[in-house]
């Protein structure tokens, strides 16, 4: 083979290779990624900033229905409601209060309506030290037992805040204990978590272990 023929064949091979590359690039073969399912927008419920509950003060401010707090619409002013206990010593909540589930304190230790409610004046709260508090002042009642938590709450280290960290620019909004805790059953309720991260690759092939229903 002469040198000229050799050059010719090299050029022919190059030509073929370039043509193949051109076709490959234009047809985008090998460049197509496997389809990834579209990521749905997150439910706006998860963006909601409302507290889990409304405090008495919130209801008053919003002008909402306060009939739940009008004790003497049903109770007799002169006759304190009787306490009834079952054989295990657990309190029996009257059927007129279907929303009250007693679960305050582990082992049901806080098991008496009048540990917190004033027996002779039901629209008042009464901690053990004898103070009489309105429903709006309920954090003081909670604080009479939960001292360290109350101290943290007063310092802003416990509980929800919103508004302005810089008090010179605007007000800070603090929430009361009962905005998150049901006083009769104060454990913070569990909830459905917002959707987790969606892997960029197909689910199942994704890096990291998969658990649950995802």
């Amino acid at each position: 083979m002469t040198a000229n023929a050799k050059t010719g064949s090299v050029l022919a091979v190059l030509c073929a290779a370039f043509s193949a590359l051109t076709l490959g690039f234009l047809s985008d073969s090998g460049g197509t990624r496997p389809a990834r399912p579209a990521i749905p927008l997150v439910d706006t419920n998860f963006l909601d900033r409302a507290t889990t509950r409304k405090s008495y003060a919130d209801l008053v401010r919003a002008g909402d229905d306060l009939s739940d707090f009008d004790c003497y619409a049903c109770h007799d002013k002169k006759k304190p409601p009787p306490l009834r206990l079952d054989t295990n010593g657990n309190i029996i909540v009257a059927k007129e209060h279907p929303d009250i589930v007693m679960g305050h304190g582990q082992h049901g230790r806080n098991n008496n309506c009048f540990n917190c409610h004033n027996e002779t004046n039901l629209v008042l709260l009464q901690p053990r030290d004898g103070r009489e508090l309105k429903f709006e002042d309920s954090p003081k009642l909670c604080g009479s037992c939960h001292g360290p938590t109350y101290r943290d709450w007063e310092a802003g280290a416990h509980g929800r805040t919103s508004g302005y960290w810089d008090r010179s620019k605007g007000p800070i909004e603090r929430k009361a204990c009962v905005n998150c805790h049901n006083p009769h059953s104060p454990r913070f309720p569990s909830r459905k978590p917002a959707p987790g991260p969606h892997p960029l690759r197909e689910i199942g092939v994704a890096a990291g272990p998969q658990t649950g229903q995802e």
Binding site: T2, N4, T7, G8, L11, L14, C15, F18, S19, L21, T22, G24, F25, L26, D28, A38, I39, L41, V42, F46, L47, D48, R49, T51, T52, T149, A155, G156, A157, H158, G159, R160, T161, S162, G163, Y164, W165, D166, S168, K169, G170, C180, F188, S190, R191, K192, P193, A194, P195, G196, P197, H198, P199, A206, G208, P209, Q210, T211, G212, Q213
Partner: protein, 315 residues
Amino acid sequence: MDKPPTMNAAPPGSEMGRRSFLRTSAVLATGLAALAASLKPLLEMNDFPTMERFLQKYYKEMTPQDMAKVLKRIENEVEQQYGLRPHVRDLKPLDGVEYVYCLNLTRCIGCRKCVHACVAENNESRDPEIQYIRVLRLPDGSLDIDKAEHFYAPDSVPEKGFFYMPVQCQQCKNPPCVKVCPVHATWQETDGITVIDYDWCIGCRYCEAACPYWARRFNFTKPSIPKERLNPDMSYLGNRPRRQGVMEKCHFCIQRTRVGRYPACLEVCPAGARKFGNILDPNSEVSYILRSKRVFIQLKEEMGTSPRFFYYFDV
């Protein structure tokens, strides 16, 4: 080669006959065609910088007049793209303020509301997803990040036997991401927030590799944000929409915190686990927490990054 050399032929070794010229140019033409075809994806690029953006000065060198022009340009671009006139500001750090974040691991229930409030506030891409906060689920009794899981999806949280640890930019005092940036597109401000100039970033992703917390995110594609979910309250170093090919990360909601407000993740937390404030103010919540809470950790403190993000427990 067989032809006898002619009088006006080129010197031996550089001869170019008609034939070899044609052959070589044919190869060259196919080679160029292949090159052009391989560059085809560039045709799909539609976000070419305008001359204005291309000639924009470095953030720290801009005069207030330059900045006003830039903010106007950004407002125009956003309006053109989303049909919504945003309010873009350039907020400077406040005097005598150093931000600190505290997160109560006893209270966090792992509901991920902070993740999505952050996405909504900071105009993060929805598809593909960019999220600044990652909530780790860890088994009780250990702080071993190797055992962490962030794809958890039970019916309800908190789950028995686990606790949750949200991780986001720790706003380090000694940030490795800032050191590796070859173009100084990211730096630490006097209030402790490490910021990114999205118009200066070249997208080399060195900072992403340097960050021990996986806090930095890269826009591999053009971010997609539905018009109705765009937050029009924007700031230059904060939540203005990003371009393809730039880094982004948590900036403590600069557009909120520098006007005195709380970050979005804090306000949405249903459990009140997140606390934020000025550590230089002895009466702030964070000062109280760091002073009086007995246990708090800085994540990966052995890295020497000295985070401004503290995790603590109720004792």
